[in-house]
Every structure is written in C-alpha cells, then in structure tokens.
Amino acid sequence: MTNDILIAVLLLSPLSGFLINGVFVKQNNRHSVLAGGIATLASGISFLCALVLFLTLTHQGEESAIHTAFLHWLNVGGFKADIAFNVDPISGIMILIITGVGSLIHLYSVGYMSHDPKPAKFFSYLNLFLFNMLVLVLGDNLLLMFVGWEGVGLCSYLLIGFWYEDPEKAAAGMKAFVVNRIGDAGFLLGLFMIFLNFHSVEFHELSKMTFTPEAGFWGPITIATLCLFIGATGKSAQIPLFVWLPDAMAGPTPVSALIHAATMVTAGIYMIVRLNFIFVAAPTTMGVIAVVGAATALFAASIGLFQNDIKKILAYSTVSQLGYMFLGVGVGAFSAGFFHLMTHAFFKALMFLGAGSVIHGMHHEQDVRKMGGLRKKMPVTYYTFLMGWLAIIGTPMFSGFFSKDEILWRAYSSPLGSKTLWLCGVAGAVMTAFYMTRLMALTFWGESRVDKSVKVHESPLTMTLPLMVLAVLSLVGGWVGIPHTMGSIAGVPNIFEEWLHHSVHDVEALGSVIEEWSTMGISVALAALSATLAYTLYVRSPEIIPGLMARFRVLHNLISNKYYVDEAYFKIIVDPIVMMSRGLWAYLDVRVVDRTTYLLTDVVRGTGANLRLMVNGNVQQYAVYIVFGIILTLSFLFMR
C-alpha cells in the first residue's frame, strides 16, 4: 500500500509540476526562480520517493520487485495492457539516476535559465520529461514503455526547439522527432511480433517464459528483437539513426545533459537490459547489436576528434559512449553495459553541465577555439570538469575506468565477443582520450584566446553545486562495480553485479585472469599515450598543428565534415522523397487520377449528347426505334 502511494507520488509529482508551471505560472522572466523552484521541488520529491523505494527493495532480499497496478488501460481481444508499474533491481537503479541526476539538473537550470524570457515553459517541459522517463522505465508492459518512449521523444522535441524563433533550432527538434519515429516504427513492429508469438506484452509474464535460443535471421525472436533494436538505434542514437543527436545540441544545455546524455538516450540500452532474457535467445540480434555498438563507438569518436563546438564534441562523445554500452549488452554483458550507463550518466551529465557553465560564463560562446585558459577564471567549473575528463578517458579508480574496462574485457572474452570487437573498442577509447584531452586543452588549459570584450565569470552556486556533486559521483560512482579480478585483491565485492544478478542473465566470460589484466593494461596505456599526445599538440606545441592539418587535409576535411552523413541522407533520402511527393501530387493526383474521372464524365456527357439527338419528338422515328427494339429482343431470345 505504502509502495503504491510512493510510486504514485514518484510519478505524479513531476506531472503536477508540469501542470502548475505550464498552466498557472506566468511566462515571465521575473518568475524564473518561482518556476525553477516548483520544478526542482517536484523533482526532489520524486527523488525521495525513488530513494525510499530503492531502500525498500534492498531490504526485500533477492528476486525482489515492487509491483503496482493502477487501472486497466487497453483490453481488446487477447491484448491486455494495464497502467502498472514495476520497481525491480533494474528499474530501481534507473529511477535513482533519473530523479537524482534530474534533480541536480533542475537545480542547475534555475541558474542557467535565469535570463530566459519563458522559464515556466522550460521547467514545465523538463518536469514532463521526467514523468515520461519514469513511465518508460517503470512501465510493466511494452506498451506503457512505448508511451514513455514516445513521451520522452516529444519532450525532447519541445526542448530542442525551445528557442524556436531560430529556424535552425526548430528544424533540429523536428529532425530529432522524425528520426526517432523511424525507430519507434521498429519498436512497434517488435512489440507486435512479441505479442503475436508470446501472447503477452507484460514484462512480469514474459520473464517467466522460456525462450529457446534460435539461430539465423528469420526466427520470431530474432525478428522481434531486431525490430526492437531498430527502436533502440533511434532513441539511443546509433548508426544509422544517430544523426539527430548532434543537432539536438540546439536545445538549452541542461537539456543536453539530462535528456541527451544521462537519461533519455540510454533508453535503448535500458530496454535491452529489461528484456535481456529475450535478447539472449537471439544470438543473431546480439551479434548485430555488438557490431553496431562497436562501429558507432569508433565512428562517433573519430568525428569527435576535430569538432570545434564544445557541445558537439560532447554530443559525438555521447553517441560513442552509447556505442560502448551496446557493445557491452551485445556480447551478453548486460550488467556491464548497464553499469556504464550509470557511470556515464554521472560523468557526461557533469561534462555537459560544465560546458553549460562555460557557455554561460562566456556569454553564449560555444567555439572552443575562442576559449582557452579558463581554469583560472572558472576554477570550480574547471576542477569538476577535470574529474569528468579523468573518468571518461578511463583513468584507473575513476568510475568510467571500471565500467568501460569491464565492457572491453567482456567484448574480448565473451563467447559472443571477438578480438575485433575488442580492438574497435580500444581504438575508440584511444580516440576518446584524444578528443577529450583536446577539449580540456582548448577550453581550460593553455593561453586564453578569449575575446577582450567578453567578461568571463564563474557561474552561481545553483550551477556549481550540481557540478560538485556529480564530480564526486564521477569518481566514486564506479566503486560499486569493481570487477572481481581487481576487487578480489582488495576484498571488495562487485555490488552492482550482485544486485542485478537475479534480474539479468549475463553471458559468462571465458578468458583467464592474466588476459584480463593485460588487455586492461593495453587499453589504459594506449589511452594515456593518446591523451599525452593531445596534450603535447594542443598545449605544449600548438604550432605544429597547422602543418599536420595541411598534410592530412583530405582526411581532416572528411572527418571534420562528419563524413558528410547528413548531406548524404538529404541527397539520397530526404530530397528524393520530397521531389517524388511533389511529382505524385502534380502528376499522379491532378493529371492522372483526377483527369481520368473527367474523362469518364466526358464519356457520359458525350453519350448523353448523342442520345439527346435521338429524342427529337418525331413520332415516326420513335416507331422505328420500337421496331428495332423488338427485332433486337426477339433475335436475342432466339439466339439463346
């Protein structure tokens, strides 16, 4: 009973925040603290509920779950989907991340949006997002998950296009929605496939069924999971549907941190972890996921190398890190992928918020070439960002190290993995170390290239406080999931994996301890080397960069233009479709279909005109008709 109330409050608190801010608070800059306060409070209440629920869960022992059904939503024929929610070890962690990181970002936004003309709208959307995200992770059936799934997409659309006066930003919002819809269509097909084969879409029923592994491409489980994975590539920005995420940076930076780094974009991984018992039964799908994940990790990291917009660098980094998570779940290391989801939520939210602090302090400058030396002017932002940097490049003992290393090791050792996948992962890690160090160097280190007219200032406490909390989490957040090989030395258990043990069926790793240590050593050493190289290039001796750029001009152009993927999509897909539609309208619809009906009316009219000549009032002529008619009828009768 108390749990029902807790879940209800958890969900309704942000929903009420949305309604209050959306309907009652005036769209006025003077109300920014009020609007932000309401939204942060709503989010905070949610966090407390999530915390209590999580603690309840830890006390309930193994295989525990809190299940609540509120009402029947849609019952047609054999199809049944209730408004029912489920807090289990997987969703328990998610709601903590969502409401925890979410609350910090709400607080941060109070400072960040203090100059905006319509803060109430912003905060109402942010709360609505929180609500939808919670529905997505807590929903006990695929349909309810889909409700949240589309709901977060809608909020993402609204928030990316928040400054819609700028046509480019409005276009970015639309692009995000449409690309996500492509994924959603796949999700729907996956849902249909699961329902028609297993006659249920409810997780608690599905999880009790046995799914016999099937080979090849055409088994029902494989098709279902592949379709669902299409959904995941949309929401979690994987090849080939990643193109919306970099554009999504048009939204306010807290949005990028919350939606496009920490929570929404991880929904694809969450969905696969949630349904891990189905996915393991489709090795083909798992292979596809791993390959797509590894390819995306590598591809996006390489684009990140030469971006100049601080948010774009982080965006491609997010795409790349999401690729790691998919690589992890694709080789059957669900808990490792999920672990990386959590640590990434900490350090990437931190870095986005840090970038936001920089942008705020620089008065809306986002180009890293116009920054430099900010460590002195923005010390808090700098030191917290530093923690994020150390975490993402995989510095030992930082959160990102444990989670990324676990994924790489599993990619190497799992029966579903391979050395090639591992190599891709390592290469991605090397590039990550490079572009992140470059980002640090251009933004915080070296000499200042800031325009004299810009008065750089450190951000207010509402913004720096979340940074500090997330910085701490970026360090210690990984300590709950220290791999056995390392943990056994110090006697630290892998709490994270044990926590998920009953909900998630990982594919066992096969390698030896020596291999595990040495692969880890290789990736850490290479990443360190790469970071040193970037440091040398961008801080010590930036004078050699132009020469290098000239030498590899073709390659540099290709990469800094993001491999022309967007251009290709427009040329190959979007433009032809628009042109074809114009053709359909102008030719098929107006000239052919409509004209044909005219032709028919012409025939009728023509016949009528000829017939009219016959009806001329001449009785003798009528008599002739009658005679003809009789002859015709008689001959017809005799012929038979």
Partner: protein
C-alpha cells in the same frame, strides 16, 4: 421513441428557425437545439447495453408494406459512438460558425440541422430503402453548404462532390433492389430490412467476376469507397474541403467520410462475406497505399486546408486497413480511428478556419512565428497535431496501434509498410507546424517583443506607434467563444487516449460478434419488437 426523437428533433428545430426574425436568434436557437440534441443522445448511451451484440432501442413502423419497406431504426455497438460523434460535433460547428457565416444565416442553420437529421438517420436506419433515403438526403444540405457558403471555386467543388457521390450511390441502389428480390426468392417475402439481408445467401464463385455476390459487393463498395474516400477515388475530397466553409469541412471530415467506412462495416462486409474475403487484399493494399500516398501528398501542400484534406486520405486508409483485417484488433481500431479522425481532423479544420477568418489566407508560407504571437492557439493546435500523429496518451494512438496490430496479424509485410505511416504522419504535420508556428514572424503575423527585459523593453516600446493593445492586429489569439469550441475537442483527445476501455467496452460485444460470425452474420433484435411480424402485417 428515443431514436426517432433524436433523428427528427434537428429537423423540427430547423423548421422552427423560419419563425424567427433575426439572425442572432437563429444562431442561438440552432445552437440550443443542437445542444439539446446532444444531451438527448446521451440518453442512448444511458439505455444502451454494451454487453449485448444485438440491435437495441428498435422502432419499426410499416412504410411501404407492399415492398416490405419499413421505417426501421435501431442502434448497436457499431453505430453507437458514431451517433454520439455526430451529435457532439454539430453544436461545436454551429458555435464555430458564429462569425464566419454572415450571409443567409437562416438557410445555413437550416442546412446544418437538416444534415444532422440525415446523418443520424443514415447511422440508425436498419432498412435499406430508409438508409438510402437518408444517405441521399445528406447530399443536398452538404451540396448547398459548399455551393452557397464556400470559397471562390465553390460551384465546381460542390458539383464535383455531388456527381462523385451520386455515381456511387446509384449502383448501390441497384444492388439494394437486387437484394430485395433475393429476399423474396430465399425468404418468401420481399424485404428491405438489413436483418433479412444478412440471412441471404448470395451466390458467389471465386473466379467469376460476374457472380452476383461479387457484382453486388462492388456496387456497395464503390459507393462507400467514394465516400471514404479511398485512393484512387479521393480527388473530390481536396476540392470539396478547400472550398467548403469551416463548418462544412468539419462535418464533412468528421462525419460524412465515416458514412463510407460505416457502410463497409454495416453492409458491404457482412452482406457479402465471401466476396469481401476474396477481395480483402485489394482493399488492404489500396488502404496501405492510401496511407502513404495521402501522407506524401499532404507533405508538399502549400495550403493548410488542403494538407489536412490529404491527411484525411491517409487517416481513412488506416480505418479501411483495420476493417479489412477482419480481426478484433483491426476492427476495434478501425472503429476507434473513425471517432479519432472525427475529433482530430475536425479540430484541425476548426483551427485552420479560425486563422483563416482573421487573415483570409491559408498559405503556409505566409505564416511563421505564430507560437509567439498566438500562444493559446498554438497550444490547441499542438495538442491536435499530437492527436493526428498518434502520440501515446492521445486518442489517435489507440486507433493506430490497434489497426497496425490487427494488420500485422493478417500480413506482416503489409503491416511493415503501413507502419511507416507513423513516420510520414509526423513528417507532414510537424513540418507544417514548424513552418507556421516556429521561426520568425511571417508576412501575416505580428511581431511580438520579448518580455525578457521586463520594464526596460516596455518603456522602449511604448514610444512606437502600434505597440499598444488598443491597436489590435487582425491576427489575435483565441477569444472566449473559440476556446469554448476547442476545449471539448481537446478534452476528448485525452479522454479517449487515456481511457479507451470506456469507449471500447460499449462496442466490444458488437465487434466480437462481427469478427467471430462474419461469414454467418445474423444480427438480432434485443427486446420485444419483431421484424417478421411487422413485415407480415401486409
């Protein structure tokens, strides 16, 4: 008597209008009649037993007994919500036309109420000749609505609308007469009752396109397919919609198009089970094609109203797809989507009409930045857009989801193609939304200064000539009447999206019966009235 009251109350009201002296009273009376009518129709909901698949609240009065023709009306789970949709939309459209219609006000409201009687009669009629009479009666007021109160090319559009519909219904009439003779041959008495028609076995041969069932199926299907309209019989629709006045478009899209889909569900499919099964894939194929074709053509329309009109082709494609799956998901979804389309496309036409009233332009390229200038209007339009593109939580989602689920059960390939409709839907609606509402202020849109700098900007602006409120820009936000028009529509968007069971439960028994007994569909009457007695009287 409740059903008869409901059918003829608008007609009586329409005649009363002629006693009134001024236009103002005419509007008020017409509105009151429509509201009373809606309240009365809630009585059907009250009395209707959703657990029964039978025909309810039946009334039979002999009309032309020599030919077995009766005044025979009744309601079941299939027609129930369509009746309520009709009585719900009529007062809303009358309220919406309060200012837009300023000539021949009396005749206009007469037409609207006459049309309501005709529409309700069509949904309730259980006698083929009665059905046909109401069906044709609908044409006249609609023809006048377009032809008298329409746009510049109204005559062309109304004649086109008339001829198209006429052509279809003539064949239907022939088929109805043929069925009456079949009734005489097979049942011994001539009858025009649907219930008797359902009992007939019309001969069917699989490969013979001239077998009686095939011919008659297509005679009915042609009439209905034109009304829906299905590709390639849809080209009257964009013209009719664009030329019709806003109330005409709302009723046309909201109710009249459903006559076609209702006809398939009530007559064409259950009367000719073998033929409809045999040709189902053609209809599914055309429906899927229509979904995508309608969406793509809608995408490139420069005129908002035309865009919405083509979107109807796409949405109605879903309905046909659902009905021809013949399974419970598809048919439930199809029925639900009929209601959704009435709400969401009706709302879209109302909204487009509202800005047309202000600027006399529907050209998308002349707008831009409306979100800033007209915040309330934007919210209403956005919610309607969400409903139209079937975002979960809105009514549109339930319908599309069920239809696609049903389609997937029938054919995975076709469902896979149809499901891309959810992408195209988002593309054409959001693209229009972006061009009209986002970006900087367009040609017809007033510039709004940011309120961000508070008092400072206010001081600065007050020096300008036309920044004060007393100088009203022609494009202003929704007024009280328009809010009253939109709120009920938007309430239903969410109500139907969040609590679909409340609606589906009333129709469940009828749909289940339809799906399970499609090949031996024998609708019966709940309660005392018996058709055979009524027919046997003479």
């Amino acid at each position: 008597m409740i059903l008869t009251t409901i059918v003829f109350l608008p007609l009586v009201g329409a005649l009363l209008l002629f006693l009134l002296p001024s236009d103002k009273f005419v509007r008020i009376l017409a509105f009151i009649i429509a509201v009373v009518e809606f309240v009365f129709s809630l009585g059907i909901l009250e009395k209707f037993d959703g657990a029964s698949a039978q025909l309810q609240l039946v009334e039979i009065i002999p009309w032309i007994p020599q030919f077995g023709i009766n005044y025979f009306i009744g309601v079941d789970g299939i027609s129930l919500w369509l009746i309520l949709l009709t009585t719900f939309l009529t007062p809303i459209t009358i309220l919406a036309s309060w200012k837009a219609i300023d000539k021949k006000v009396k005749s206009f409201h007469f037409c609207m109420l006459l049309l309501e009687t005709a529409m309700l009669g069509t949904f309730l009629a259980m006698d083929a000749i009665l059905f046909y009479s109401f069906w044709e009666l609908m044409l006249i007021p609609m023809y006048l609505l377009i032809g008298v109160w329409g746009g510049d090319r109204r005559i062309y559009a109304s004649v086109k609308f008339f001829i198209y519909t006429m052509v279809g219904s003539v064949f239907m009439l022939v088929a109805i007469i043929a069925l009456m003779y079949y009734a005489k041959a097979q049942l011994g008495v001539i009858s025009a009752s649907f219930l008797d028609f359902y009992k007939l076995k019309v001969p069917f041969e699989a490969n013979n396109y001239l077998s009686p069932q095939t011919l008659m199926f297509f005679a009915f299907a042609l009439a209905f397919a034109i009304k829906v309209p299905m590709f390639p019989l849809h080209t009257w629709l964009p013209d009719a919609h664009v030329q019709a006045p806003t109330p005409g478009s709302v009723i046309l899209a909201g109710v009249l198009l459903k006559m076609g889909t209702y006809g398939f569900l009530r007559l064409a499919i259950p009367l000719f089970p073998e033929a409809s099964e045999y040709f189902a894939l053609i209809f599914i194929g055309l429906a899927v094609f229509g979904i995508i074709y309608g969406a793509l053509v809608a995408m490139v329309q420069p005129d908002m109203k035309k865009l919405v009109a083509y979107s109807s082709v796409s949405h109605l494609g879903y309905v046909i797809l659902g009905l021809f799956t013949f399974n419970v998901y598809g048919v439930s979804g199809g029925l639900y989507q009929m209601l959704n389309h009435g709400i969401s496309t009706g709302a879209l036409f109302l909204l487009v009409g509202m800005i047309y009233e202000r600027t006399h332009s529907r050209e998308i390229s002349k707008y831009g930045g409306l979100a800033k200038a007209l915040p309330l209007f934007t919210v209403a339009f956005f919610i309607t857009t969400l409903s139209s593109i079937a975002v979960p939580g809105t009514n549109g989602f339930i319908g599309e989801f069920l239809i696609l689920l049903g389609a997937f059960q029938r054919s995975k390939i076709l469902a896979g193609i149809a499901v891309t409709g959810v992408i195209w839907g988002a593309v054409y609606m959001l693209w229009m939304f972006k061009r009209v509402f986002f970006g900087s202020a367009g040609e017809l849109v007033p510039e709004i200064a940011d309120d961000s700098h508070g008092d400072h900007s206010h001081d600065h602006k007050s020096k300008g000539e036309d920044s004060h409120k007393d100088h009203k820009h022609p494009l202003f936000d929704l007024d009280f009447r328009e809010i009253a028009v939109m709120v009920p529509m938007l309430v239903f968007v969410f109500w139907m999206g969040l609590f679909p069971n409340q609606f589906l439960d009333k129709s469940k028994a009828s749909i289940d019966y339809f799906v399970q007994n499609r090949t031996s569909y024998h609708l019966t009457i709940k309660g005392d009235v018996d058709t055979s007695n009524a027919i046997a009287q003479k």
